[in-house]
């Protein structure tokens, strides 16, 4: 052995040893069909136990509460002196005993009470315990999820586990990190915040903190970039060896330290609603096709007629070329250059041209800004200047609009949230609404839901839904209702599905002469401020469901006596869960509130189901309201349940196709 030492580079004393774990990540074992079926079955069984799981943490909360009086009497120094004992108890094993957890909770709670003026309620301690246990803590709106997350995050960090607190937008990440900063500092923990436009060293420093606040998008992209850097050499041992052998230089190559523990806020929307969104890192490459070819493709596609040559696949936003169309393309391009000779290429080009012409519309899917095509997000209405459509579609649309062609982009790495979050060694989440997705969360992420009871009983009233035969009637009623509430000084929040619907609502309110605030396409911070003010006396706010998430609507003085915030939903969402999110905007922390859905049979959920719509109208027109309303309500509920099932199935199929794709691409190694 001694002679071998000469060949190895000498280890210098001052160089620190690499961390015990250079990169943490769970390898997701490939699932067979049987595994998958079993997981779903277990998930369905576990869904029924959500309330029970929640109550399991009551003992630990009581234990922590019992320690509170003793800690309350201690001086600051004495509290500090307690820290090492608590920390070492936590670090003694992988899963610390409940006593150690309770001691840590009590200590953090005491600091929180002294520094933030918010000692944790028992339910928040229960929530934190559920998070540390790797579950989804289902807590009603306004129960203080930020504080709960901080409790769990600091306890985990004290135990030596790097924690990512994942929020839905940068504003919330920054706000929460700053609010909780004093607490963490008191515990000797470092906090990092991931902001936009941070460079690699800064990011690496932020991720190197004990607790890192970040958005799901930033986190996933950073992970992808790291994977690109790592390439095929992503094993823990290899990284440690590299660390040892690397010529000394402070420059970190990686941003993350692996995926240890994540606490995901709004877990249902990140893990389920956005599960299918692929995150793609791409690099610029020369455009696949020359401008002349795009011109020709556009002109050929304009010569085709809809039902004969091609069709639009309903529901999939896809162009389907018919045999007649294929022949027409061949005939039209037979005289063109060699680029048109290959069947696949020319059909692809024409299909892209048709897609650009008929499926993507200016000011709906994209806008022109400074002579560039900029994508608009359909749901949030925000512009996405750094995004581009793939496979030459972006260039085709640029060409259609007469813009200068941008470079083509080729993918370097891509991942979905579904696949990304499964890789955490420990994952936990918080949400107000997890109804109906428990089985899925278990089957895909091994997360079971623990329903945490509310601190105070809920005082929100749900008025029965009202269904009108068409939008006109609906708006008449909505404006009348809003005017009445407004006159009574009650604040009203109107929630919509999309930006377009919010604008429509705003138009109707404006026509009715009602002064209101419209929330869309603004910045997160402004959104949050507007939403936070929505509880002001007599205020009228129109917002999409996505706007101002994570921000509490605090009631102005005197409003509670008038019945609290009144939330009106004017369209059903794709999932009942999201309806509940909207309802949760009112009646926080046992305050009074009111929720009502005022709907019409023109609801987008019934699009493509003309028969249901006709039936509903007939029922509303003939039967007395006492009979007709429940039937119409049920009709919409059915449509919603169908949409839920459809989306669940699509997520499942995506998962399965991801897995089979993975199997097929096994020869290419692990790129991301």
């Amino acid at each position: 052995m001694s002679d071998g030492a000469g060949t190895l580079p000498r280890l210098q004393k001052q160089r620190p040893l690499p961390p015990a774990r250079a990169w943490a990540e769970r390898t997701v074992p490939p699932e067979g069909k049987l595994d998958r079926a079993l997981n779903w079955a277990v998930g369905i069984a576990r869904a029924r136990l959500a309330a029970f799981y929640g109550l399991r943490y009551r003992a630990i909360a009581e234990h922590a509460a019992a320690l509170a009086p003793e800690l309350a009497g201690l001086s600051v120094e004495a509290l500090h002196a307690r820290l090492p004992a608590v920390t070492s108890a936590l670090r003694r094993s992988e899963s610390p005993p409940p006593e150690a957890l309770a001691a840590a909770f009590a200590l953090v709670r005491e600091w929180s009470g002294r520094l933030l003026g918010q000692p944790h309620y028992p339910v928040q301690i229960m929530g934190a315990a559920a998070l540390l246990d790797g579950r989804i803590a289902q807590m009603a709106t306004g129960e203080g999820k930020t504080l709960t997350a901080a409790l769990a995050a600091s306890t985990a960090a004290l135990a030596g586990i790097p924690v990512h607190v994942v929020t839905v937008n940068a504003y919330l990440a920054e706000r929460d990190a700053e609010t909780m900063g004093p607490l963490y500092r008191a515990l000797g923990l470092s906090v990092g915040i991931i902001r936009e436009k941070q460079e690699l060293p800064e990011r690496a420093a932020a991720y190197a903190c004990d607790i890192t606040y970040c958005t799901n998008k930033d986190l996933t992209f950073d992970y992808l970039r790291d994977r690109i850097t790592l390439g095929q050499r992503a094993s823990d041992v290899r990284l440690k060896l590299n660390e040892l052998l690397r010529p000394s230089g402070p420059e970190p190559r990686l941003r993350l330290r692996g995926l240890h523990f994540a606490i995901v806020d709004e877990a249902d929307s990140v893990l389920v609603d956005e599960a299918r969104t692929p995150l793609i890192i791409s690099a610029e490459v020369p455009s696949q096709f020359a401008p002349e070819m795009l011109t020709r493709a556009l002109s050929v596609s304009q010569s085709l007629t809809q039902p004969r040559d091609y069709g639009i696949v309903p529901g999939e936003r896809r162009i389907l070329l018919h045999p007649a169309g294929l022949e027409a393309i061949e005939a039209a391009t037979s005289a063109d250059g060699p680029g048109w000779r290959a069947r696949v290429t020319r059909e692809e080009l024409v299909r892209q041209a048709l897609t650009a012409l008929h499926l993507f519309h200016r000011d709906e899917h994209y806008i022109l800004r400074d002579g560039k095509v900029v994508i608009v997000d359909e749901y949030t209405g925000r512009v996405m200047p750094d995004r581009a459509w793939s496979d030459g579609l972006h260039q085709m649309i640029e060409h259609k609009e007469g813009c200068a062609l941008s470079a083509g982009r080729s993918t370097l790495a891509r991942i979905t949230y579904q696949r990304f979050f499964r890789r955490y060694r420990r994952l936990a989440g918080m949400t107000g609404t997890a109804g109906g997705i428990e089985a899925e969360l278990w089957a895909i992420f091994r997360l079971s839901v623990a329903r945490i009871p509310t601190h105070r009983p809920i005082r929100r009233r749900h008025l029965p839904d009202l269904v009108f035969p068409d939008t006109t009637a609906k708006w008449q009623h909505v404006t009348a209702r809003v005017a009445a509430l407004h006159a009574g000084g009650i604040p009203v929040l109107i929630g919509t599905r999309s930006v377009a619907a919010a604008e429509e609502a705003s138009g109707h309110l404006g026509d009715a002469g009602l002064n209101h605030t419209l929330l869309s396409a603004a910045q997160d911070k402004a959104e949050a401020e507007i939403v936070a003010l929505a509880g002001g006396q007599g205020r009228i706010t129109v917002a999409t469901n996505m706007a101002g998430r994570g921000t509490d609507i605090k009631l102005a003085p005197g409003v509670a006596e008038r019945g609290g915030l009144h939330v009106i939903m004017i369209e059903r969402h794709d999932a009942r869960r999201i309806d509940d999110q909207l309802a949760g905007r009112s009646g926080r922390q046992g305050e009074p509130g009111c929720f009502q859905a005022i709907l019409s049979l023109d609801d987008p959920l019934l699009d493509g189901r003309p028969l249901s719509r006709l039936l509903g109208r007939a029922v509303l027109a003939t039967l007395p309201a006492s009979l007709a309303q429940p039937m119409a309500r049920r009709l919409l509920r059915f449509a919603q349940a169908r949409a839920e099932r459809l989306h669940a199935r699509m997520r499942r199929e995506l998962m399965n196709s991801d897995q089979s794709q993975e199997r097929m691409l096994a020869f290419s190694g692990h790129s991301e």
């Binding site: 060699p338 680029g339 290429t345 496979d391 080729s410 020869f667 190694g669």
Partner: protein, 714 residues
């Protein structure tokens, strides 16, 4: 409709793959188009590549990246370039076959997972088809190489001519001795000792058959690396691994390799025919006969049949130039359903060349029907011997042919993403088709009847039989007319008998007189004579009564029937011969034998009865059930109804005296309206018991239930 681009392209675009050394590419033509066949010498597997895919493979040199190669292939532009997805699939296929070598480290987890899944699949294939187990024995390549000078000359035009001559000779001899041959077949084929002989002959003949494949492969430069034995339906059979022939460029060579086994067997059969014709009866002749049966008949029926996956199939597939015909024909049917029934416009067609369509569709349908039929027939035959085993076999067969595709179909209907947006249409159509089928099977009434055989029957007491031998001298009553009981009908004569009576009478007189003479003088002599008188008079009495038997009288009142009245007088009849009948009002009837399996139907669903006489099958006579013997019996009323007599009732051969049925039978007497012509008495008749109309499904269910009831003796 494939898109040119793939979302996963970035995963492969930077790879620099290279084909492993043990892969070899052969150029072949299929239906006028050039294809490339990639041969993996390590596993002996083949992959068919399109020209574009081949170009892609040829450009993979370990230096160029996949992106570069793809761009090069696209830039060629003369053929359809592969889409990115197709390229990924190609690479994945190569990787799955261990043919890809790249600049990346092997992923052991993936390797072991792949090995496990391959092992699992092999295992499943065994479980699914337990009747075709393979046991590899040794590698014959070097042996065959050494023997090459012996067989190489056979694969030539001269060889073909010699073979043709030999086979023609064999056919000629077999034709000349056709009747003898058929006789041998009927007598010998299924005796116990011949079955043993046949088993041995079978193995030897099949061994030569496989040798034929091996030699043909070697003759044109292929390699044969595996010989083994497999259990085909529990019968051992040799096999050789001759897949190297798939690399041959000429389809005729490939066909000869596939046909070599049949060629060898036909030659053997021809030689055997010659031996059989020349040899004396004995072992040699028996062996020759068996070789003829195996090499001639069974080869053409099984090996030569393209609908089974034996040699004939490969010959056909090569001949029509559609590789993988069986699997692709099934895929084609599925594609057709998707496209035309479910309206999936972008379904992927397995058709790669013109003219394949008809072959694929025809083959799929024909082979499905044939395999279904053969499997069920084999299962049925085995079930009669080993019930449980046969039923298990039938279940496996039905599961393989019907249930598995059905389950797959249902899963496709309910879950497949391709049907999204069209699921309602697919479900409606399939439901309608299934409903129509069910309606046809279970609700559409079809004529339903039981056909049984019987004989035209006259009761014993109505028969008029000769009681002694004699010459028929006179017909006393008029045939066809009514006679009273005791009326004289026929008079026989026996000159010997009457002479004998006269002699005996004279002897008796003599003895009496001698007795009178010595009665008073010699008491001893008198006693002796007295005894003689007693015995002689007894003999005389018996001869006298036989003389009385020469006169036949009517045993009952009825109609006197004399079938051969015209040429009867002067004929010598033996004792017990049937001369005529005295029929009562209801005679004759048709005595019908109904097997146990049908009795319930005949009893529970009475309906019109129709009769056809074997003599005049074209005439249908209405009838009615006159009476029924209530209990089951095993005695068959007429030998004409037993299996050896040409009837439907199998009988117990161990008791030649009385025909006894193996299974219980039931007797019905059927009266035919308008009477039965008298010249058909004792003849066979076909009787149809009409049960009205019933759908087929219920009938099948009933007979299945019966099969199980009878087997389990419930």
């Amino acid at each position: 409709m494939a898109s040119l681009f793939s979302q996963s392209w970035y995963r492969v675009s930077g790879l620099k793959p290279r084909l492993r050394g043990h892969a070899q590419i052969h150029r072949q033509r299929f239906r006028g188009a050039v294809w490339y066949v990639l041969q993996d010498h390590q596993t002996g597997r083949f992959h068919r590549l399109s020209p574009a895919a081949n170009l892609f493979l040829c450009l993979m040199d370990g230096q160029r990246s996949v992106q570069e190669i793809w761009e090069m292939v696209c830039a060629r532009g003369d053929d359809d370039p592969p889409t990115q997805d197709e390229t990924i699939r190609l690479l994945s296929l190569l990787h799955g076959a261990d043919l890809l070598q790249g600049a990346f480290p092997p992923d052991f987890a993936e390797l072991s997972e792949r090995a496990a899944s391959t092992a699992r699949r092999t295992m499943m294939a065994r479980v699914r088809n337990p009747l075709a187990l393979r046991l590899p024995l040794f590698d014959p390549d070097r042996l065959l190489e050494a023997l090459r000078p012996l067989y190489q000359p056979l694969f030539s035009v001269t060889g073909l001519v010699c073979w043709l001559l030999l086979v023609l000779t064999g056919i000629t001899i077999a034709t000349l001795h056709w009747h003898e041959l058929i006789g041998d077949a009927a007598n010998q084929m299924l005796t116990a000792q011949n079955l043993a002989l046949m088993m041995v002959t079978y193995i030897v003949v099949k061994g030569l058959h496989e040798l034929g494949h091996a030699c043909a492969t070697k003759a044109w430069g292929g390699e044969v690396h595996e010989v083994g034995a497999m259990l085909l339906v529990l019968i051992p059979a040799p096999y050789v691994e001759a897949s190297a022939a798939a690399a041959f460029a000429s389809k005729w060579q490939r066909m000869v390799v596939s046909a070599a086994g049949i060629i060898v067997e036909l030659a053997l059969a021809a030689i055997a025919a010659i031996v059989w014709a020349l040899a004396e009866p004995g072992l040699a002749r028996a062996v020759a006969f068996n070789v003829m049966v195996i090499g001639g008949v069974s080869t053409l029926l099984f090996n030569g049949n393209p609908l089974l996956r034996f040699d004939g199939y490969y010959i056909l597939a090569d001949w029509v130039e559609i590789p993988n015909l069986g699997a692709r024909s099934n895929r084609y049917v599925f594609y057709w359903l998707q496209k035309h029934v479910f309206g999936i416009h972008d379904a992927e067609s397995p058709v790669t060349a013109k003219g394949e369509r008809g072959w694929l569709a025809g083959y799929a349908v024909a082979s499905f029907l044939y395999r279904m039929m053969v499997s069920l027939a084999i299962a049925a035959v085995i079930a009669t011997q080993f019930f449980i085993f046969g039923v298990a076999l039938a279940i496996v067969a039905i599961a393989g042919i019907l249930v598995v595709p059905l389950v797959k179909g249902v899963r496709f209907l309910l879950l497949d993403p391709k049907l999204r947006g069209r699921r309602r249409r697919a479900l409606t159509l399939t439901g309608a088709a299934a409903g129509a089928l069910l309606l046809l099977v279970f609700a559409m009434p079809l004529p339903y009847a039981t056909i049984a055989q019987g004989v035209v029957w006259v009761p014993d007491r109505s028969e008029l039989r000769a009681r002694v031998d004699g010459v028929l001298a006179r017909v006393a009553a008029r045939p066809g007319e009514a006679v009273a009981r005791g009326e004289t009908l026929l008079q026989l004569e026996d000159p010997v008998l009457s002479a004998r009576v006269a002699v005996l009478a004279a002897q008796l007189e003599e003895l009496r007189q001698r007795y009178d003479a010595v009665r008073l003088t010699d008491r001893v002599q008198a006693e002796i004579l007295n005894e003689q008188i007693g015995s002689t008079s007894q003999t005389l009495d018996s001869f006298r009564s036989r003389t009385a038997d020469l006169t036949l009288t009517a045993g009952q009142e009825g109609r006197f029937i004399l079938p051969e009245a015209t040429d009867l007088v002067g004929r010598y009849v033996h004792r017990g011969d049937r001369i005529g009948y005295v029929l009562e009002a209801e005679d004759p009837v048709i005595r019908v034998v109904v097997p146990q399996a049908d009795i319930d139907l005949v009893r529970s669903r009475p309906g019109p009865v129709a009769v056809r006489l074997a003599d005049r099958v074209e005439e249908v006579r209405p009838g009615a059930i006159l009476r029924e013997v209530p209990g089951a019996q095993s005695e068959v009323p007429s030998p004409a109804l037993t299996a050896p007599g040409g009837g439907p009732i199998p009988i117990d051969m161990s008791n030649p005296q009385k025909p006894r049925a193996l299974q219980s039978i039931f007797i019905f007497d059927v009266q035919v309206a308008g009477g039965i012509p008298l010249d058909v008495l004792g003849e066979r008749a076909y009787v149809r018991f009409d049960h009205g109309r019933e759908a087929i499904g219920w009938r099948v269910l009933r007979s299945l239930r019966q099969v199980f009831l009878s087997q389990f003796r419930v």
